[in-house]
């Protein structure tokens, strides 16, 4: 007769129910707040809290860019180099969400870093590069993105980057080169930037090149002109043998994609900024239980709603991260990037509606959104 096992499980069950009981008492003691709201006063980075990070350091890279070192909350689940993260930053009191590439591989101190290039008129990027200070808290989501190296690492790699498009790639490289045994991969990095001084991580990349860990081809727009894809075969003669990754401005990526498609080659890309096309129409946007809002045909529904004080889920605000997706129950919206219409007809499009990205969708007639 064995009693050890049952008594063991009883004890752990009792432990669980005791913890559960204590938790319920604590919840009852702090209502109408949630227990988390009270614990946040003392330990905002604890396990179980909403994911946040504390800024540890803001290190300038070029005079237009900086790396922000972050201590994420205990629930940070890690990332694969090349992935990006959504961050919510309070700029002038207003929480704004953006996505930035993670520029380190996983680190022993569990810290993460993002590298931000201040773009003209960019509210969050300029804030992070010039005004953010150590000690400040930002909001965080778990890492996302498919722009990662395959396993095992291919024998020959081509990485094409433009401007801040280097940021996901530097994460990949640092991770590869920090391994005890550096993988014997033949890497070509083709990087285009406005000028030599504008190359983010310039000295680090040149060191890698000098050490023979990769072959760096730098193209500076001020001296060499824009990267012309027609030169690609000359710059990288063994293009067809290489697994190719590209990240940078939309124009560069489009040209590269065309070049690779024409040769029947595959190219993995990461797009940072969506290009918006002009749209017409507009209409009334109604949220479940809310007052209808008048939306014009050129403003994303996300902006319309936020300007009217509706609390909206949001992320990159450029159609990438799917953080703003809400179901369209009825009506039509137009994708501001390409003019594509999405329609939802009750009874025809399923009970849950059609999920749309509110950040790149404008009203194309009256629409009802479940939120």
């Amino acid at each position: 007769m064995s009693i050890a096992l049952p008594s063991g499980t009883t004890r752990s069950r009792r432990g669980r129910s005791l913890r559960e009981g204590l938790r319920r008492v604590a919840e009852a003691a702090v209502t109408p707040l949630e227990l988390g709201d009270v614990l946040d006063v003392f330990h905002p980075l604890r396990r179980g809290a909403d994911l946040r990070a504390r800024i540890v350091e803001v290190r300038p890279e070029t005079h237009q860019s900086a790396t922000v070192l972050l201590q994420p909350g205990r629930d940070w689940a890690g990332h694969v180099p090349g992935q990006y993260v959504r961050v919510g930053v309070d700029v002038d009191g207003v929480r704004l969400w953006r996505t930035y590439s993670l520029t380190h591989g996983p680190r022993a101190d569990r810290r993460i870093s993002i590298t931000v290039k201040a773009i003209p008129g960019g509210v969050v990027s300029n804030y992070l590069v010039r005004r953010a200070r150590p000690g400040q808290m930002i909001q965080l989501h778990q890492s996302e993105g498919e722009f990662v190296l395959p396993q095992p690492i291919p024998a020959k790699l081509l990485l094409v980057t433009g401007g801040s498009g280097i940021t996901p790639v530097i994460g990949m490289l640092r991770n590869l080169f920090s391994r005890a045994e550096r993988p014997q991969t033949d890497i070509v990095l083709l990087h285009s930037a406005l000028s030599r001084a504008e190359v983010i991580f310039g000295s680090e990349l040149r060191q890698y090149d000098a050490a023979g860990w990769l072959r760096l081809v730098e193209l500076h727009t001020d001296t060499h002109g824009l990267l012309d894809v027609a030169d690609l075969d000359r710059l990288v003669p063994d293009l067809a043998e290489r697994t190719a990754y590209a990240c940078g401005p939309a124009g560069l990526l489009d040209a590269l994609q065309e070049h690779f498609d024409a040769r029947g080659l595959t190219l993995a890309t990461e797009r940072f900024r969506a290009q918006l096309v002009e749209a017409g129409d507009g209409g009334t946007v109604t949220f479940a239980g809310g007052t209808p809002l008048e939306a014009d045909g050129a403003t994303p529904i996300l902006d319309v709603a936020e300007n009217a004080g509706v609390l909206m889920p949001s992320g990159c605000r450029m159609g990438i991260c799917m953080g703003c997706v809400l179901p369209l129950k009825e009506g039509a919206v137009r994708d501001l990037r390409n003019g594509a219409l999405t329609t939802a007809v009750p009874g025809e499009t399923g009970p849950g509606g059609v999920p749309i990205q509110t950040c790149i969708s404008a009203a194309a007639g009256p629409c009802v959104i479940d939120h």
Binding site: A29, V41, V94, L311
Partner: protein, 413 residues
């Protein structure tokens, strides 16, 4: 007081429609200035207030775990009272107005906030934000005027039942949070309906409110007293929590009475409000229907800046920390258009509001015509009016009003 349109001299008679629209334009400009400036310092302010409030409440409740010691009881009760007042006034009320929605912080947002009060956030947002702030001081539409149980205007016919209204008002002050919950639910009106005719919405709201009250009462009267048992402080903690709720209730009731009740604050007739009231007309009604409390910065914070009731009613969604800053500009606008900017220290406003409650509990003109000398006679008259039926009441009322008019004429002459 009498509805503005029934007064011998309407205080807005000197304003042309163009003046009224100009007032609207000037107030919109003040609002836009604040919207343009609103930023990091405002966000820092509300974050600090929330942080201080939470720490104060936790510390006070921790001290109350030892509340069988009298000094601990006193310190803890004062701390908890202040924490509850801050939570309801400067934080809860203002967050639920959407004053901080612009920060897009889901933790401090009108759609997610729940406050330390018997009434639910949803119920409050409906009755307060939608009804009271839109229909401010319109007799019969704004339930804040007497909460449906009091006589707040000369035009309401006097009835002997109103003699008890100072008592009702006092009881309402002590249990104000339940009073608010009841009036959010329009409890009186709904309870008069037969059960089967009450709307599903009412039933749902009632259920939510009872759930909220149960959770609130469990916290203050079960959980925290029980946690104090190890130091033998069950009853002292219960008493401390009851006291803190009482202090908070009386304080918030007083502040709110001061906002719309003092003598000289105008009321409006439902039928005198145009169907499509313009922005300027709406602003004007808010200007005349509210009263401010003058005082120190600490007093302003403890009233949730409702001491700037006029500014709050003009701009209910501007951050409360900005009301003090715009008050001089608003006051200058009142002066420019020769309107009465109603402001006085707290004791004066509380007295004035209570005076009105007492005055209106009595027949029109009774208080004005009563002196120490004729008190026995007047008491007899009141007794007759209360007991001898409507006919006697009407006759006596006519005589009282005539006397009051003569007296006023004599005083003027």
């Amino acid at each position: 007081m009498t509805a503005i349109t029934k007064k011998p001299v309407n205080p807005t008679a000197h304003l042309t429609p163009e003046d009224i629209e100009q007032i609207g334009i000037e107030l919109d400009a003040i609002r836009q200035d604040i919207l343009d400036e609103r930023g990091a310092s405002d966000a820092a302010y509300i974050h600090r207030v929330v942080d201080v409030q939470r720490r104060l409440e936790l510390a006070s409740r921790a001290v109350l775990l030892f509340s069988s010691l009298p000094p601990a009881w006193i310190v803890g009760t004062i701390g908890l009272s202040v924490a509850k007042i801050l939570e309801n006034m400067e934080i809860g009320h203002n967050v639920m107005h959407g004053q901080w929605d612009w920060m897009r912080d889901p933790k401090i947002h009108s759609t997610t906030w729940e406050w330390d009060n018997a009434s639910t956030a949803d119920g409050w947002k409906h009755s307060h934000n939608e009804i009271h702030h839109n229909f401010t001081n319109i007799v019969g539409k704004d339930n804040d005027l007497g909460y449906g149980i009091m006589r707040v205007d000369e035009d309401q016919r006097w009835h002997p039942a109103y003699l008890a209204q100072p008592l009702w008002n006092f009881i309402n002050a002590c249990f104000f949070e339940y009073g608010i919950a009841a009036y959010d639910l329009e409890l009186g009106r709904n309870l008069r309906l037969p059960k089967e005719r009450r709307s599903d919405e009412f039933k749902r709201n009632l259920k939510n409110t009872l759930k909220k009250i149960r959770k609130q009462a469990t916290k203050d009267y079960v959980v925290h007293p029980a946690l104090s048992i190890p130091t033998g402080s069950f009853l002292p903690t219960l008493a401390a929590n009851f006291t803190a709720n009482l202090v908070r209730n009386i304080w918030s009731h007083s502040v709110i009475m001061c906002g719309h009740f003092p003598e000289g604050v105008e009321t409006f007739e439902k039928k005198a409000i145009p169907a499509n009231e313009t922005r300027g007309e709406w602003y004007l009604r808010q200007m005349l229907g509210s009263a401010n409390i003058s005082g120190s910065k600490a007093m302003h914070i403890m009233t949730g800046n409702l001491s700037h009731q006029i500014e709050h009613h003009l701009f209910p969604d501007l951050p409360s920390n900005r009301y003090a800053e715009i008050a001089p500009r608003v006051q200058a606008l009142f002066e420019k258009y020769d309107l009465n900017y109603h402001t006085a220290p707290l004791p004066q406003q509380v007295y004035s509001a209570w005076h009105r409650v007492v005055r209106l509990s009595l027949p029109n003109g009774w208080l004005a015509t009563t002196t120490v000398k004729n008190l026995p006679e007047q008491a007899k008259l009141l007794w007759a009016m209360s007991t001898k039926g409507p006919k006697v009441r009407r006759a006596a009322q006519a005589r009282l009003e005539q006397q009051a008019r003569r007296q006023a004429a004599a005083a003027a002459a």
